[in-house]
């Protein structure tokens, strides 16, 4: 079945089983490999993308659901918030193994796009769905605060 949606600003048409999780369409069909597989049941957040501007676990999102929608992946992040988040991540060397951080960056970017100065509690709530087995959590918290300050100007 053909499904058309926008990925990172570009219209894409894929002909796949409509139940296919968006994650595997992005990866296997579109070769956007920044979005990762971690659990397949929306527990870890490694597959986080933005769907019409809000975070979405692509591993449990059938591609049929995104017909006509706008999907942004780590490869397509462009907002000032995204840039600030990524620079803050690099600035204090947040990643260790790095595998979860596409998802972490997607969640952190969405947080700052909706809340320019999050508290620790806001951060903990917004990032609760993203597991990091290297436990880089307190650098994540610190980097989000740094990004928020950068955006304040």
């Amino acid at each position: 079945m053909a499904i058309t949606f926008t990925v990172n600003g570009e219209e894409r048409r894929v002909d796949v089983d409509p139940d296919t999780p968006l994650l595997w369409v992005l990866r296997d069909e579109l070769r956007l490999t920044g979005t990762k597989f971690g659990c397949g049941i929306a527990q870890c957040g490694a597959c986080t993308v933005h769907l019409d501007g809000t975070t979405r676990r692509s591993c449990v999102t059938p591609v049929s659901m995104v017909e006509g929608a706008e999907v942004t992946t780590i490869e397509g992040l462009q907002s000032p918030e995204a840039r600030a988040v990524q620079d803050a991540w690099v600035g204090i060397d947040v990643p260790q193994c790095g595998y979860c951080h596409s998802g972490q960056v997607m969640s952190a970017t969405a947080l700052l796009e909706g809340n320019p100065s999050p508290s620790d509690q806001d951060i903990d709530e917004a990032m609760a769905g993203n597991i990091c087995r290297c436990a880089t959590y307190h650098r994540i918290r610190q980097a989000i605060h740094t990004a928020a300050k950068t955006l304040e100007g």
């Binding site: 796949v16 089983d17 139940d19 296919t20 999780p21 595997w24 990866r27 296997d28 069909e29 070769r31 490999t33 920044g34 979005t35 990762k36 597989f37 971690g38 659990c39 397949g40 049941i41 527990q43 870890c44 490694a46 992946t73 780590i74 490869e75 992040l77 990524q86 991540w89 690099v90 060397d93 947040v94 990643p95 260790q96 193994c97 790095g98 595998y99 979860c100 951080h101 596409s102 960056v105 951060i123 903990d124 709530e125 990032m127 609760a128 993203n130 597991i131 990091c132 087995r133 290297c134 436990a135 880089t136 959590y137 307190h138 650098r139 994540i140 918290r141």
Partner: protein, 722 residues
């Protein structure tokens, strides 16, 4: 995607020392000066690259690429080893690049193991002099080349930030400009390395080479390898440990669009899909029957009871100092504990995966490989090819924590069998999270039985200890490291106490089960540090002594480094024996770490608010990386101690399946952590694992002072009933 197509050509000729004009891809020049950040290397290699040895490449574009013999899975080895090379070359950090070395035991063996592999927190210790010498050799050859070009004596030449200069004549050249000429210079036999006092990069927080690629989605893991006509395979694994495939029916699976093939392999039934979703659906449709005659059918409860019974005995003798039993009999006060530790899965973020491409008479593999020499041999054997026809590319790995270092190379064997059954072409074998959590290779289920004695003054006179646990090494190639039938990974950390106890006995009751077990970040210390450090805390409390002062009083000259980290961490935390504060100290992988945890009671469950950590790991090559490893080690250990157990239900099936039933530490549960590094000129020691052992006992000790309850069974928070 052919991301590594040039790497093989690049690396093939590099064995023999000086090399090598490899063909020049046009893109290479575009890579140069791509910013002042050290970074992951691209794969393009240009003509005229200077290759002084197996580890260093200087390209005409002025980039210096370091070939890293260890897998990078978050511990920072790409950055750490590149720092050593940059230091000795007097390179500019911005010109440094890191990439993975090929699998080749003749060039890239871990000097601590004799084979190529990563583990035991040895990456920095075993590479420290090797990488410095590699950098120093490169520098000496560049200086020689410059001396020839400038027509001046070599000893008048200086090097700084990647520029080779002769001050008197005003001549200078960048590394890249000298690369071709340096290739003609004979490598020095024993290159001179710097005095530690002259270090410019070592000891500083140079930015990590891989942070950018790991923040923008471009870092390439095994999962990200796609080859033309690649199939994705998944395997139906046995439902119990030790069960084998009896029969299967693939009829329904083969009706699913995109499922192209089903094959029985030794590990179960392999299902091949044109894409991942087809493989997933196909696997779910397989009907399989299993032979469970050799399977583990005991539940965790039954195993715990068997282990506890064995721990009542003395086990095989490990330590026997004085006469612990006699001293116990004479003690004024005695104290006994039984501690229970569950199986634990490692669950790295990236599940196990590999891509195997079989061509006419050769094969190429991409895998986040931790034991290259063993896995390489396993691939070659199963594929029936000589090892030199099998190229193994070590990819960035999405965590491991020990999981990717298996003595039996079971995953390499499975990937090779699955690929071979498919035949020519590329096959990606992907384990799902369920395969990972139910797949064994766990931290062993363990029971400790401890008896302590105090005299009338509260001094500790007796320490009698038996550990019941499976052997990790027995039955694997690592068995050669066992002596007298003793597997040190079963009891390391409990064999010698850092405390002066006159009568000390330790025994190991070796338990058997078809459940496969493996090292899990810090190995035996995951349970021995808990046992030793909670028991000493309780004995000191019984004797009316402070946890810090009491420990220090029992430490002698040989424990100077333990004492130093203990004093440092007590200062950091403002220790006064406060309720809700607990401490632990442990030496592991030749490093010394003390931690104090501040714990709150939240609805009957411990919540860790703050952790202070002092570490002595010798020379701190990159303090930022060391702090990160302590933070990560603490988070990893805390999460498991608080929440995790793999349990077998009635009949022996694993009761957890995914991260909904195997609970992970999340951001709101992560404590604030402050790390202090002891200044040292000793050779560097491990940092990947030593942060983990002290955290669980520190939390348990804190909880005991807060609530009076001893946490004798882990995890601390009861797991959800499945």
């Amino acid at each position: 995607m052919t991301i590594h197509s040039n790497r093989r050509a690049f690396l093939k000729g590099t064995g023999a020392g000086l090399v090598i004009g490899v063909m020049l891809p046009a893109m290479a020049k575009a890579q140069q000066k791509s910013g002042a950040m050290a970074a992951l290397a691209t794969d393009e290699i240009v003509e005229g690259t200077f290759a002084p040895n197996a580890f260093v490449r200087v390209a005409p574009d002025d980039t210096v690429t370091v070939l890293i013999k260890h897998v990078e899975f978050g511990q920072g080895t790409y950055t750490g080893l590149s720092t050593l090379v940059a230091e000795e070359m007097d390179a500019d950090w911005g010109q440094m690049r890191a990439t993975s070395a090929p699998a080749d035991v003749t060039l890239y063996a871990n000097t601590a193991f004799g084979i190529q592999g990563t583990g035991g927190s040895t990456a920095m210790p075993n590479s420290y002099m090797q990488m410095r010498k590699a950098g120093a050799a490169a520098r000496a050859m560049l200086v020689s080349a410059a001396a020839d070009r400038f027509d001046v004596p070599a000893q008048e030449i200086t090097v700084s930030n990647g520029v080779v200069s002769h001050e008197a004549s005003g001549q200078s050249a960048r590394f890249g400009e000298l690369a071709e000429a340096a290739s003609q210079i004979e490598p020095p036999v024993d290159p001179q390395v710097k005095d530690a006092k002259d270090f410019a990069l070592v000891g500083t927080d140079v930015p990590k080479v891989d942070s950018r690629a790991k923040s923008d989605g471009t870092a390439q893991f095994t999962l990200d390898v796609y080859r033309d006509d690649m199939l994705t395979a998944m395997v139906v694994h046995p439902p119990k440990f030790g069960a084998t495939l009896a029969s299967h029916d693939a009829t329904d699976a083969l009706k699913i669009p995109g499922v192209v093939k089903v094959e029985a392999v030794s590990q179960g039934v392999a299902v091949y899909g044109e894409n991942t979703f087809a493989a997933l659906k196909g696997r779910a449709a397989i009907k399989a029957e299993w032979d469970e005659s050799g399977a583990e059918t005991r539940s965790t409860e039954q195993m715990m009871a068997d282990w506890a019974e064995a721990a009542e005995g003395d086990g095989k003798e490990v330590t026997n100092k004085g006469d612990a039993k006699a001293a116990l009999a004479e003690a004024a006060t005695t104290h006994e504990v039984t501690l229970e530790f569950p199986f634990l899965a490692h669950t790295p973020m990236e599940p196990l995966d590999a891509v195997v491409e079989i061509r006419d008479d050769e094969a190429e593999i991409w895998m986040g490989c931790q034991m290259q020499t063993m896995d390489h041999g396993a691939f070659a054997k199963v594929l029936g090819m000589p090892q030199d026809k099998v190229t193994l590319n070590t990819m960035l790995a999405g965590g491991s924590f020990g999981r990717r270092a298996t003595g039996d190379s079971h995953f390499a064997v499975e990937a090779a069998e699955v690929a071979k059954a498919r035949g020519k072409g590329a096959t990606k074998l992907l384990w799902t999270r369920e395969d990972d959590i139910r797949g064994g290779y766990y931290r062993p289920l363990t029971v400790h039985k401890m008896k302590g004695g105090l005299d009338a003054d509260g001094a500790i006179t007796a320490w009698d200890h038996t550990i019941a646990t499976q052997s990790i090494m027995a039955g694997t190639p690592f068995e050669m490291m066992m002596k007298d039938g003793l597997d040190p990974t079963a009891y390391e950390g409990a064999q010698e106490l850092p405390y002066a106890v006159p009568n000390h006995r330790l025994g190991w009751a070796q338990m058997e089960s078809p459940v496969s077990v493996l090292w899990w970040r810090s190995v035996g210390h995951t349970h021995t540090a808990y046992a030793v450090e909670t028991f000493i805390d309780e004995l000191l409390a019984k004797g009316g002594k402070d946890a810090v002062e009491g420990r220090l009083a029992l430490m002698g000259e040989e424990q100077a480094r333990e004492a130093a980290v203990l004093k440092r961490v007590a200062d950091m935390a403002g220790w006064s024996g406060q309720k809700g504060f607990g401490l632990a100290v442990a030496k592991s992988f030749n490093s010394y770490v003390a931690e104090i945890a501040e714990v709150e009671d939240r609805d009957g469950e411990p919540h860790i608010v703050n952790v202070w950590c002092a570490v002595d790991c010798g020379v701190a090559v990159n303090p930022n990386v060391i702090r990160a490893q302590m933070e990560g080690g603490i988070g990893y250990g805390a999460g498991a101690a608080l929440y995790d157990a793999i349990t077998l239900g009635e009949g022996g099936s694993v009761q957890q399946a995914n991260w909904d039933s195997y609970r992970m530490l999340r951001i709101g549960e992560m404590p604030n952590i402050e790390v202090s590094i002891i200044e040292s000129e000793a050779d560097p020691t491990g940092v990947g694992e030593p942060g983990t052992p002290p955290i669980a006992p520190a939390v348990a000790n804190a909880w005991r002072t807060l609530t009076g309850e001893r946490m004798a069974t882990l995890p601390m928070v009861p797991i959800a009933q499945v």
